[in-house]
């Protein structure tokens, strides 16, 4: 069930109405059943794997809290192995098999091929695995007590708004909210609904339209000019932002309608003046997860300059691998790690006062550096990514397809509209200001405009969200 489908709209309305009709003590059960239903709409049998890891983590959390000394660590390791084991099996088995087979073949040592697995990746696996891991790590660190209510803990992992593509939550933020009794709050419901509409607008009116151009160029990349490759890469930068931040807005909005506050995931990342700042604004729930549980665990910046660079690089490489089991994602992460290390080495500061031209230049430079990494993210093979990267700089000699200016104009208008809204309004204001408490005119106008634009300009048969595959 996709967020950008009418099926989800019906599901959401039914669950929300039932949620407010039921007494507080039964609400967790409703949300858990709804979340199970939501998850099972993809591949039903995979819920068994999820329930197994939930069971292990639940027991591990309590044991970690009760035990002392080495035993605590043993339960933490058990939880991590269970979570990472599932992730490794489903997501990385074929990747490693592929590489080992290539290595054995290259070395001509033995004539043997490891078998491949023909299975579909459980949806949102990387997201809920990391969320589950953050729970046991926080309990181990003593930052949060173990959850005694199995149903509430299961809901923490499975809460449907953020089950398949985040934000990757922390127990401190979400678990107490499941215990609190929520009352219907008119302002919050209206704000949440508007946020959902804004997210849907970004996905179906902008992201999916950009996707059409990106696909037309990337699927026939060898036939296009360098200009088309650049335009498609810019379009992909817009597509992935609208797709993922659109999803996040819908997740936050749908949770807010029921009174839950999830963590923010995006803060206008393409207005960042450095790559370091970009990562403070892009997929914030993952970047802070990597910082808190990986970078800091590796020693962070406490062990001297050289080790700091190593830690940054390693963190981003693993962050890349988290996205997908392919060398493209490893390189994507590696490039980001390299940017971050270089900025640290050069002592790049973005907080100091800067001229208007300086700011624009920095934003443009950062955007282009990020665009180069998106090539590896979007390309389906390493060969394709390398070809496109090379021809972004070196002109293509034989061009078979001309740039489709009609499509470029279509996406240009939509991206322009997005930039206008983000730069002129969202940069200075917050969704809270669309509360009906300040008068009904503004929220009504926003909701009507977005609904009408979605109805008339939205891609009705759009694809699923890009991040669902991770």
């Amino acid at each position: 069930m996709l967020f950008n489908s009418f099926e989800f709209l019906v599901f959401f309305v039914v669950v929300t109405v039932l949620y407010y009709l039921l007494p507080h003590r039964y609400r967790w059960l409703l949300l858990l059943l709804a979340s199970c239903g939501f998850y099972m709409a993809f591949i039903p049998v995979y819920i068994l794997i999820l329930l197994l890891t939930i069971g292990i983590d639940y027991v591990a959390g309590i044991q970690i809290e009760q035990a002392a000394g080495r035993r605590r660590k043993q339960f933490l390791v058990l939880s991590l192995v269970a979570n990472l084991g599932v992730l490794a099996f489903f997501k990385y088995y074929n990747f490693f098999t592929d590489n080992i087979n290539a290595l054995l073949d290259g070395l001509h040592v033995v004539r043997y091929e490891l078998p491949y697995l023909y299975i579909i990746l459980p949806i949102g696996l990387s997201f809920h695995t990391f969320q589950a891991m953050s729970y046991t790590i926080e309990v181990y660190r003593g930052n949060y007590p173990a959850e005694r209510h199995l149903g509430i803990y299961a809901l923490y992992v499975m809460f449907y708004p953020q089950l398949v593509a985040g934000p990757i939550e922390r127990p401190q933020n979400v678990l107490p909210q499941f215990h609190e009794e929520k009352h219907f709050n008119f302002d919050q419901v209206v704000i949440g609904l508007q946020r959902m509409l804004w997210g849907l607008f970004k996905k179906v009116v902008i992201g999916d339209v950009l996707a059409e151009y990106v696909n037309s160029v990337y699927n026939n990349y060898e036939m296009h000019s360098s200009l088309s490759l650049w335009l498609a890469t810019y379009a992909f930068a817009g597509q992935i932002y609208c797709d993922f931040s659109g999803y996040s807005d819908m997740a936050l909005g749908s949770a807010q309608v029921m009174g839950f506050k999830l963590m923010e995931n995006f803060r206008m990342p393409y207005f960042a003046k450095s790559v370091t700042e970009f990562w403070r604004r892009w997929h914030m729930s993952l970047s802070t997860w990597l910082r808190d549980y990986l970078y800091v665990s590796l020693g962070g910046s406490r062990l001297g300059q050289l080790l700091t660079y190593r830690n940054l690089l390693l963190t981003m490489l693993l962050g890349g691998l988290w996205h997908g089991a392919s060398w493209n994602f490893v390189i994507w992460g590696g490039l980001n790690g390299l940017y971050l290390s270089t900025e640290k080495l050069l002592g790049v500061q973005v907080d100091r006062p800067m001229s208007w031209a300086g700011r624009v230049g920095r934003v443009a430079l950062t955007f282009h550096l990020i665009c180069l990494t998106w090539v590896f993210f979007r390309a389906t093979t390493l060969e394709q990514a390398l070809y496109i990267t090379r021809h972004l700089i070196e002109p293509v000699r034989e061009v078979a397809l001309t740039t489709d200016w009609g499509m470029v104009a279509t996406f240009g208008v939509r991206v322009g509209l997005l930039l206008l809204v983000e730069f002129a309004w969202l940069r200075r204001h917050r969704f809270q200001e669309l509360s009906p408490a300040y008068g009904w005119g503004r929220p009504l106008a926003v909701a009507l405009t977005l609904t009408l634009l979605i109805l008339t300009f939205g891609v009705a048969t759009g694809d699923q969200f890009i991040y669902f595959q991770f």
Binding site: S5, F6, E7, V10, Y20, F184, F186, V189, V190, N220, E222, M223, E398, V399, A400, L401, T410, P436, W440, L444, A447, L448, T451, L452, L455, T456, F457, G458, V459, A460, T461
Partner: protein, 326 residues
């Protein structure tokens, strides 16, 4: 809760008013615009004073490769990027509007039979949802919530407003322009041969595993033609060079058409030799340029004429302005 109820009621009322108002304006515009492949061509056809003897249906391999002027009394309703579900839906629209021609020449793209079924193509005809029975039925199959979506008048115009406005503007600017009758020829260009070689390699790289999904729509098409006594001829255009999947897909289609006793001119299996040996005739592996189109159209016209009863002279082609007049 009460406050939210009021807010929601106000929102719904305003939305309904704006939606219906907007849809009314767009519906009027839709009826006036006779330019453009997606709707204009169909409206043009529906308003033609005399029904053509033959209607050509298909995707871009028809719009680009077949010149309707080569065929006796023909009008092309070919639409780029569509599959069989669209053609069957379109036939249902013609039936519902009581504008079925005496004969139909349907292009069957064999590539469809090795690719996933694209049932969502029916949404290109969503304007006729609730009117044409097969459009309604297929749309409901594609999404069970289609009836709910169709409650919004603006949804009928989803994704087509910029095109509609552009066509309306062009039509006002050039009212004397003759109708192109669904023919979109492509002039030869320097990159044609490179594109042809590249696209042929891409075609051959496809899995080639047969998908029978589209057969069902073809079957419905044949059935409706038979019920309405419409003479149906099917054909498949040549490829520059035959991709590996063509033979199997051709046999699959042929078996259905043979059973229904529908003549099938399969130039993919029995290609026009001159086209297959000359890359200069091609824009890419499946589309001809204006060097190759006359040859392809002439061969097709000769064979189709043999299968059709003799017809009189075709009516004079009207201009855009003639058709757009209420």
């Amino acid at each position: 809760m009460k406050k939210f109820g009021f807010f929601f009621l106000l929102f719904s009322t305003l939305l309904l008013a704006l939606d219906q108002g907007g849809a009314w304006v767009l519906d009027r515009l839709h009826e006036r615009v006779v330019l453009g492949q997606r709707d204009g061509l169909l409206i043009t056809y529906l308003r033609l004073p005399d029904l053509p003897q033959l209607v050509v249906l298909g995707n871009s391999r028809t719009a680009v490769n077949v010149c309707p002027d080569s065929l006796p009394g023909a009008f092309s309703l070919a639409h780029n990027g569509t599959t069989q579900v669209f053609q069957t839906g379109l036939l249902s629209v013609l039936h519902q509007q009581q504008r079925l021609p005496p004969a139909i020449l349907l292009h069957i793209d064999l590539d469809e039979y090795i690719r996933p079924t694209r049932a969502e193509d029916i949404h290109l005809l969503k304007y006729y949802y609730g009117q044409a029975p097969l459009v309604t039925a297929y749309s409901r199959e594609a999404s069970w919530l289609e009836p709910l979506k169709q409650c919004f008048g603006l949804y009928r115009h989803n994704g087509r407003i910029p095109g509609l406005l552009r066509n309306w503007y062009m039509q006002r600017r050039h009212p004397d322009q003759p109708l192109n009758q669904g023919y979109e020829p492509s002039v030869p260009a320097a990159a044609d041969s490179l594109r042809t070689a590249y696209s042929l390699a891409k075609l051959n790289a496809e899995s080639g595993q047969l998908n029978r999904g589209h057969l069902r729509y073809l079957q419905d098409f044949v059935q409706l033609c038979q019920q309405q006594n419409v003479r149906l001829i099917c054909f498949t255009n040549s490829y520059y060079q035959q991709p590996h999947h063509v033979a199997a897909a051709g046999r699959l289609v042929d078996s259905l058409l043979q059973r229904a006793q529908v003549p099938y001119l399969n130039y993919a299996s029995q290609p026009i030799a001159e086209l297959s040996h000359n890359i200069g005739y091609w824009r890419d592996a499946t589309h001809l340029n204006t060097r190759g189109i006359p040859l392809n159209s002439q061969v097709l016209a000769r064979q189709v004429s043999d299968l059709l009863p003799p017809t009189g002279l075709r009516a004079e082609i009207p201009t855009l302005d003639d058709i757009a007049k209420p």
